[in-house]
């Protein structure tokens, strides 16, 4: 069964159709990339999966359950975690505190007005595990707002991971990053995918990253799905070629 099943979703903003009848099936364990030129509706589509935006029509099913009407926070508790194109973190809290909030919420403690010593220890252990996995241990005590852009992106991914998601949604994880940072974050995503068999859907502009990571690629253009397939198939696809003016073929060949 597919972990994520999007059926014919559309989104209209006034007279603008941002997404037109797009379907997407992602089986558990897959790393799916969504690509497309600027304004193709990728982020809107993403927002409909995570619940930030309500589709005008169509449905979203997660793990066999229709979540189209489920509010975003509850989708998170069902196992869907996401990051944003523009980093969303708690800037004036430390990296460890950022993660602590994620861990406590995921453990169902968010309403507790107290916390036992034992629970604190368990939360701390989980936080440290996340810090170690994402290489942020040495920056645990720093305010996350003071970190370099690349580290902030990693911290955001770490927060999403701390939720122990079954589906991880990454909106342009390498946005605004330099060569080295892009390389590191690509390695991190790959490791998560391979080692934890995490299902990941990501939007990405950097074609090298996409072709390096993705099991399958979906291509959006002007709100519609114009192609879907393995990286090799996409690289050879004529419609995708014309939407991308050759970028895809280069990356596919590289």
């Amino acid at each position: 069964m597919n972990l994520l099943e999007v059926r014919g979703v559309s989104k209209q903003f006034g007279s603008l159709v941002a997404v037109r009848n797009v379907s997407l099936s992602v089986p558990a364990g897959q790393l799916r990339a969504i690509i497309g030129p600027n304004g193709a509706g990728k982020t809107t589509f993403f927002n409909m999966i995570s619940g930030a935006v309500q589709p005008s029509s169509g449905s979203v099913q997660f793990d066999g359950r229709d979540v189209t009407q489920v509010p975003p926070w509850r989708r998170v508790t069902l196992g869907m975690a996401r990051t944003f194109q523009i980093t969303e973190i708690f800037p004036e809290l430390s990296v460890a505190e950022n993660l602590r909030i994620a861990v406590e919420t995921a453990s169902g403690m968010r309403l507790r007005p107290w916390i036992s010593r034992r629970a604190t220890t368990a939360v701390t252990r989980h936080v440290e595990e996340m810090l170690a996995q994402t290489g942020l241990m040495s920056k645990a005590g720093r305010l996350v707002g003071e970190l370099a852009h690349g580290d902030q992106r990693v911290a955001e991914i770490a927060m999403a991971l701390a939720l122990r998601p079954r589906l991880l949604l990454l909106d342009e994880p390498t946005a605004g990053m330099g060569e080295q940072e892009t390389f590191e974050i690509t390695q991190l995503i790959r490791r998560l995918h391979r080692e934890r068999e995490l299902t990941i859907v990501l939007i990405e502009h950097d074609m090298r990253v996409v072709f390096h990571l993705a099991d399958r690629i979906a291509v959006l253009d002007q709100g519609a799905l114009i192609g879907e397939g393995t990286p090799e198939e996409i690289a050879a696809d004529a419609a995708v070629q014309s939407a991308y003016l050759g970028q895809v073929a280069e990356a596919g060949a590289a």
Partner: protein
Amino acid sequence: MNAGGRTNRLVLAAIWVVLLAAPFWLNLVGGYTALGSRVLVLGLAAMSLNFLLGFTGVLSFGHAAWFGLGAYGAGLALKFVALSTPLAMLLGTLTGGIAGALLGALIVHRRGIYFAMVTIAFGQVFYYIAYRWNSLTGGDDGLRGFSRQPLAFGPMRVDILNNSTLFYYFVLVCFAVAVGIMALLLRSPFGRTMLAIRENERRARFLGIPIELHIWIAFALSCVFISFSGTLYALLNNFADPNNLYYSLSGDLVIMAVMGGMRVFWGPLLGAAVFVVLQDYVSSLTTNWMSFIGLLFVLVVLFFPRGLLGMLRQRRVA
């Protein structure tokens, strides 16, 4: 980290020593004990407001409503229900807390200026009720005819009515309990979700936190704390009047919180101390005392945007 923790403990110890010794040193510097009680009560009110403002990032401009409801609730309880200070405090706190919780549920979907405007409107509703309902509240003249009652612990009586020093310590104990609970809440998982909402609502929502529910709880708790301080205010003055509910008091509380430093737990207490002491001294010199507070407020906001205590803390970190 460790050095910071030690300094924090030292500051904390210093605050409590100063508060505990206040009845002894206040007279030496030209103050009086009731002034200390007033600082504690308004400081607690400002800290209650700041529980919402500084730690959840939600600005209420009508918190005097819940403060005043606490004051009237306590006064009316002493006047009409029973001659018991603890019962009056309980009933007053429940009055403001429940009213705040109910009305808060209606407005948690509003944000920023809209939220602030609706809270002012609620405050004014209660003000006009108190102002108009002569037969119950005494209207413009205020609620009179009640006084705080001595406390009875079994055979022991503590005369907080006639002994202002004893009353100060009574207020201090109440203050300590309230701010202790506040501090514990802020260190709890729930408290951290408040910080999360303050820092980034969107991120908080997408961590699985239902924002509106958490803001509502924080709002209701803040109302409970501030109406508790309102009951103490009624006991302090043996009087409650419509100005306890008026929006200018709400504004004063915001000024205290911002001036003292709203990101710092103790900031609003310092803000309240500066406000109350200035008011006391300057108003004996000129009726335009508010101009001085206004001027000071402008200076603080211009030069110490994080408030007086926030400023000190930043210096130390830097």
